[in-house]
């Protein structure tokens, strides 16, 4: 197992370098003079010279890439053009918000996805199954921004149960923080719960059709034991893969949810940087998020190998 983990970790390095190269190359897609795009056509020669120096624009592509990557490995991703602080600092400030919503959304998606998915498979063809699948289809077809706006309209504007938006750190006031988190977490979590429910149902149906389940039943085992001990253990690994995939989708969806609920997270930082063409922040945040996703994928692979003994480590 240790050798397998080391091998998977080593395999990530070339992938990470390729990801960083793509991230850095995107700057080169800018048509025309990048300084005009960043500073505008009327920038003073001094401002241009300062920008050329700070972004190493007088070096060749590979030299610049090497310098950027070298600094990034040490946690230094350059200075933001508009925020007046380092990219790493900006990310560190915003990350807790995104992580909090992300973790909350993952919990919501697991709670609303896995149990209904299992129940739906066990009650196949009945009203419960149909209802769960209809709700799942609605979830999959609802964009985060629409779900967020509907929740705001019903629960914040009309019922006044929750605030319209904003963020309170968990450490400052727990009750207020949770009230601010309910709607964003539900918005993100509900949509991906739909995907988890569908996949859980399909996987469970697949597993429940196997011979060993029939054997377990014919031995006279109670249905609860058959489901919990025999079926779920096998269904767990494909479900883990979907959950890993959903975590990545939640990272992606968090950008929009943060805008809907005016949360000062990574998504808000990236969108504002894209709108202002603050390229160092866009690049830094892209590299940071992609690195996170590579690590999540690795974790899912390892968990998959752990859950499914049929996977060989060599």
């Amino acid at each position: 197992m240790v050798a397998y983990i080391v091998r998977r970790l080593l395999a990530i390095i070339p992938m990470w370098i390729a990801v960083s190269l793509l991230t850095f190359s995107i700057m080169y897609l800018i048509p025309g003079d990048p300084l005009v795009s960043i500073l505008g056509p009327s920038a003073s020669p001094e401002a241009r010279a300062k920008m050329i120096k700070s972004m190493h624009l007088d070096d060749s592509f590979w030299v610049r890439y090497g310098k950027w990557l070298g600094s990034a490995v040490r946690g230094d991703m350059g200075e933001s053009i508009f925020l007046g602080r380092s990219v790493s600092r900006a990310i560190a400030d915003r990350l807790p918000v995104t992580l909090t919503i992300g973790i909350g959304a993952i919990l919501v998606s697991l709670l609303l996805g896995i149990p209904p998915g299992i129940l739906s498979a066990l009650k196949r063809g009945r009203t419960l199954d149909t209802s769960v699948m209809v709700v799942a289809l609605v979830g999959l077809s609802t964009p985060e921004f629409l779900m967020g706006l509907v929740l705001i309209y019903v629960f914040a504007v009309h019922l006044r149960w929750f605030p319209v938006g904003g963020y309170v750190p968990l450490t400052r006031d727990l009750a207020a923080a949770l009230r601010h988190l309910v709607m964003p977490c539900f918005t993100l979590g509900f949509i991906w719960a739909a995907l988890i429910a569908r996949m859980t149902r399909a996987t469970m149906l697949d597993v429940m059709g196997n011979d060993y389940i029939r054997t377990a039943r014919s031995k006279g085992l109670r249905e609860r034991v058959v489901v919990w001990k025999h079926a779920l253990r096998v269904a767990a690994s494909p479900i883990t893969t979907v959950v890993g995939f959903v975590i990545i989708l939640i990272v992606s969806g968090a950008f929009i949810t943060e805008i809907v609920f005016s949360l000062p997270g990574m998504g808000n930082l990236i969108v504002n940087s894209v709108l202002k063409r603050d390229y160092p922040v866009v690049q830094g945040a892209m590299l940071f998020v992609a690195t996170g996703i590579l690590l999540i994928n690795l974790l899912v692979d390892l968990l998959y190998a752990y859950l499914d003994p049929r996977i060989k480590y060599d």
Partner: protein
């Protein structure tokens, strides 16, 4: 070569295929809703008495017989803008599905049939897939500029790898079939083997994937426009209409809910069709 029983002619085959398709309820329901929405988007703007971008003094009027979906904060008719926006969303979603299908098929078939290109193409696809789709699309738009063509380029780049992966794995499995070996032994050029023998076999998986990319494309365009990175005002897009309505949802919920409802119905119709097509092409799924 003659077989024992008569081969059905193309017309009979088409009828049998159509009957099988129509038996899938999800395809019929999804397809009908989709057809209705597409027709509304094509015909609607010609029938509407209002201009999508003309400013009037009829600000924030509630839905009524005059303005079925009400008016926005610039006095523009929301229904007319929804229909124009739907054109944009459907156009971008559909074109993204077509472009990423073509690119994905070419790359996937190349990777699946050539050991030399396989690692290069698939690693590139892995790199693209390491980014959340919306983030990569935003970065491409930040670099290229924000307009409909660049959204299309960004989304096609983002959704090509999934198609390429599916086509590659189908190509790999078809490649081992005896008839492909026979074709190779007859010295039939590789591009002909790909086009005549492998492509028809990957078509089913490709159509299902393209349907889902259509839905992703609609959602992604709406998402990008909602956050202000996509279609720029005053041009109407379902996403930027929702974005405009967000700040005044208390006063004018119709500004958000009508475009939102259209996106929801559109994506649900496409998803229903995708589910139905997947079941149609994959007999193992039919019994579930």
């Amino acid at each position: 070569m003659t077989s024992g029983r008569a081969e059905p002619n193309p017309r009979q085959r088409f009828r049998a295929g159509l009957r099988r398709t129509l038996r899938q309820r999800t395809i019929v329901i999804g397809g009908s809703i989709l057809l209705l929405l597409v027709l509304a988007a094509i015909v609607g703007p010609h029938v509407s008495p209002y201009q999508p971008n003309r400013l009037t003094s009829a600000f924030l009027k509630r839905p009524s017989a005059v303005h079925w979906f009400g008016t926005d904060n610039f006095g523009r008719d929301v229904l007319t803008r929804v229909l124009y926006g739907a054109r944009m969303s459907i156009g971008i979603g559909l074109t993204t599905a077509v472009c990423s299908s073509i690119l994905g098929t070419v790359l996937g078939m190349l990777a699946g049939s050539s050991k030399r290109f396989d690692p290069i193409i698939m690693r590139l696809m892995d790199v693209i897939m390491a980014f959340p789709s919306l983030l990569l699309a935003m970065a491409v738009l930040a670099a290229l500029g924000r307009n409909a063509v660049n959204i299309l380029i960004a989304l096609s780049i983002v959704y090509t790898p999934r198609t390429a992966r599916i086509v590659r794995s189908s190509t790999l499995s078809v490649r081992e079939e005896v008839y492909i070996e026979a074709a190779r032994a007859l010295a039939i050029p590789w591009w002909r083997v790909l086009g005549r023998h492998i492509l028809p076999n990957v078509l089913a998986a490709l159509i299902v994937q393209a349907t889902f990319v259509f839905a992703y494309g609609v959602l992604a365009e709406a998402g990008l426009s909602f956050i202000g990175v996509g279609i720029q005002p005053p041009a109407a897009s379902l996403g930027n209409m929702l974005g405009d309505g967000r700040s005044i949802i208390r006063e004018a919920p119709w500004m958000s809910f009508f475009p939102g409802g259209f996106i929801f119905a559109l994506v649900m119709a496409i998803n229903l069709m995708g589910d139905g097509l997947r079941e149609l092409f994959d007999p193992r799924l039919r019994k579930r």
